[in-house]
Amino acid sequence: MGFGLALAAVLAIVAVVFVARPFLREPAPASDRLDELAPEARQRLALAEERDRALDALKELEFDHRTGKVSDDDYRAQVGPLRRRAAEALRALEAGEHSPRER
């Protein structure tokens, strides 16, 4: 009983120290604000996702065309809009490259 409770006390102390660690390491930080994405960074992230989706879709379309799953007509009809989408996302990303990332 006594040994068990002593072990439990050690466990509790270690846990409390670990939980308090951020405050022990930085007792008086310059900023205690939790980072969050600025609206511009959110917009950039959305554009990056859009760019990846468009590039991925292009890759998939090329492959499906090569395997015969997508006919020549379907390929021609789809490849243009997908390229435009990818280019637009890339342009928008480049345009916003120098805007602030985090607030």
Binding site: V19, E36, A41
Partner: protein, 658 residues
Amino acid sequence: MASLGRAALLIAFGLVAYALLAGSYAAWRKRRRLAHSAQNALLAAFPATLVASAILLIALARHDFTFAYVAEHTSRNLPLPYTLSAFWGGQEGSLLLWLVILTGYAALAVWLNRRHRELMAWTVPVFGLIAVFFGFMLCFVSSPFHQQPAPADGAGMVPSLQNPYMLAHPPMLYLGYVGLAVPFAFAMGALLSGRTDERWIVATRRWTLAAWLFLGVGQLLGSHWAYVEIGWGGYYAWDPVENAAFMPWLVATAFLHSVMIQEKRGMLKVWNMVLVALAFNLSLFGTFLTRSGIINSVHSFSQSPIGAWFMGFLVLMIVFSVVLILWRSSGGGDGSLRTKTKLESLVSREATFLYNNLLLVALALTILWGVLYPVLSEAVRGQTRSVSKPYYDFFLHTFGLPLILLMGLGPLVAWRKASLRSLAKTFLIPFAVAVVTGGVLLGLGFGSSWVGLLAYTFSAFVAASIVLEFVRGRSAAGGIFKLVSRNRRRYGGYVVHAAVVLFVIGVAGSNSYQTIRENGHLRIGQSMEAAGYRFTYESIKGVKGPNYTGFRTVVSVVGNGERFDLTPGQNNDPLQGTSFVASIYHDPRTLGDVFTNASLDKAGTAIDLHIFVKPLINLIWAGGFLFVFGALVAMWPDAVEQRRLAARYAAGTAPAGI
């Protein structure tokens, strides 16, 4: 010992309560150090719970009957592996298993994603909320460390649970159930933080696959255990406990498909949130079903110490997830779940995924109604009404057969839009294979079951479409390894589809075309026939095990060019009663089984022999290996993709600090 276990649980409870309260406050008020501290509390809860689990395992191994839990679920002569498996054999132990897996998963998932502060700030308290409930139950309602004066021996374990499958089946299921808490916590964290981009999906993709894999393997192990151990000749009885695992698996399957639409097309954000919430709440419901006693009756539920608590928590989590989803998808939030992209065509890959989602969810919900109806009927009308096999079979056929067909159609249809000419070209070979297969089977007399015939025909279609995908893909990619490497998820998924084809063929064969002969009353030397085999009762002898006595018969079997002996019998544990010991012959020619069990008549001079001849049943178990292989291929990390995602999110994250 017990005091250390209790203290460790109290420490774990304190830590997760802190993770919930301090974490919520920190996320709300944007306090960095407090959020970090709450995260540390969640990480520390795992070793604390691990200590409590170790104490229970040590008590079990030492047959320490001062622990009421150990005395209730084991006995001195129970072999060690089964003694240790009692950890999850009872209510208190299984709650502890939930908590230790949950805190372990939470610690790993949070640590791996610690750089994504904004998302993690709210994910930590959601994990904390779930863990607080289980911690509270273990500390204050249903403790595995309750002590008593030690009895001379324990109550032992039900003989049917003393089977190697039961060493793995429950932990596998729990790894799956609890695993669904990870995508749930991240999804709710995303809703609370407003980070409804794809970050939470990327973070939880493999967790969801792993949970889904564990749930699937757990069910297969449970089915095989039921088949070899329970002795009724089947492997799935639509029992509420079985359904409890099947429902979240179905919804998780729907999610794994629909999440691809969000990743590829940016659509279905709300639907994916709904599926994640539904899968997790069904996994909670599954635990509630198996642990609250509600399956037996409303009365045993009301007498269960955990029933009302569990129901309260389940309602809380459903309300919590529904309110959050509605808030973010409506004007009340920022509407960030709304998407502009629309379905371009009803004949496209995403459309087939959508149909598959509707069928999977419909099947899960009809099963849920089948589980709930007897309970509601008893609670409202005071009458116990059961929902039996025909109800479930009807909906399995109604939703399951189109699902098989979609499994073959989906891979052949292109994303966005497919023209009829393309479809005709790609469908030609699988369609021809299906028609020929169906025609040949009809000619061979398989028309006796239209469900079986359709299942086989559709399976042929799916198998042909998978082979076609690999063959065409291989030549386009320049080799099978390159093909799979460039898109592991897709081709791993196809391997899983192939496993499902094996399941379907095995289930259809062993159900629609099985032969059953029950209650053959035989004295020594007498015979009976079934499916071309002649079964002769030759002899009987007594057996004695470590904690049971029993008998084994010898039944010689001749027919269909085979000759073999079967030894069905029974075991009797003085503490836990009698159980069947089935004897099974695996026929390599039909990939099926000849399954027998036997009971002695009252006079002890004859046996009642039960025979089940089940063609193709072994494809179900073989499919299990393929299922695991396919899931592992789909889960395997892709270095190129990891780099791409790291670059994408580098813009939105800060260096690891919290």
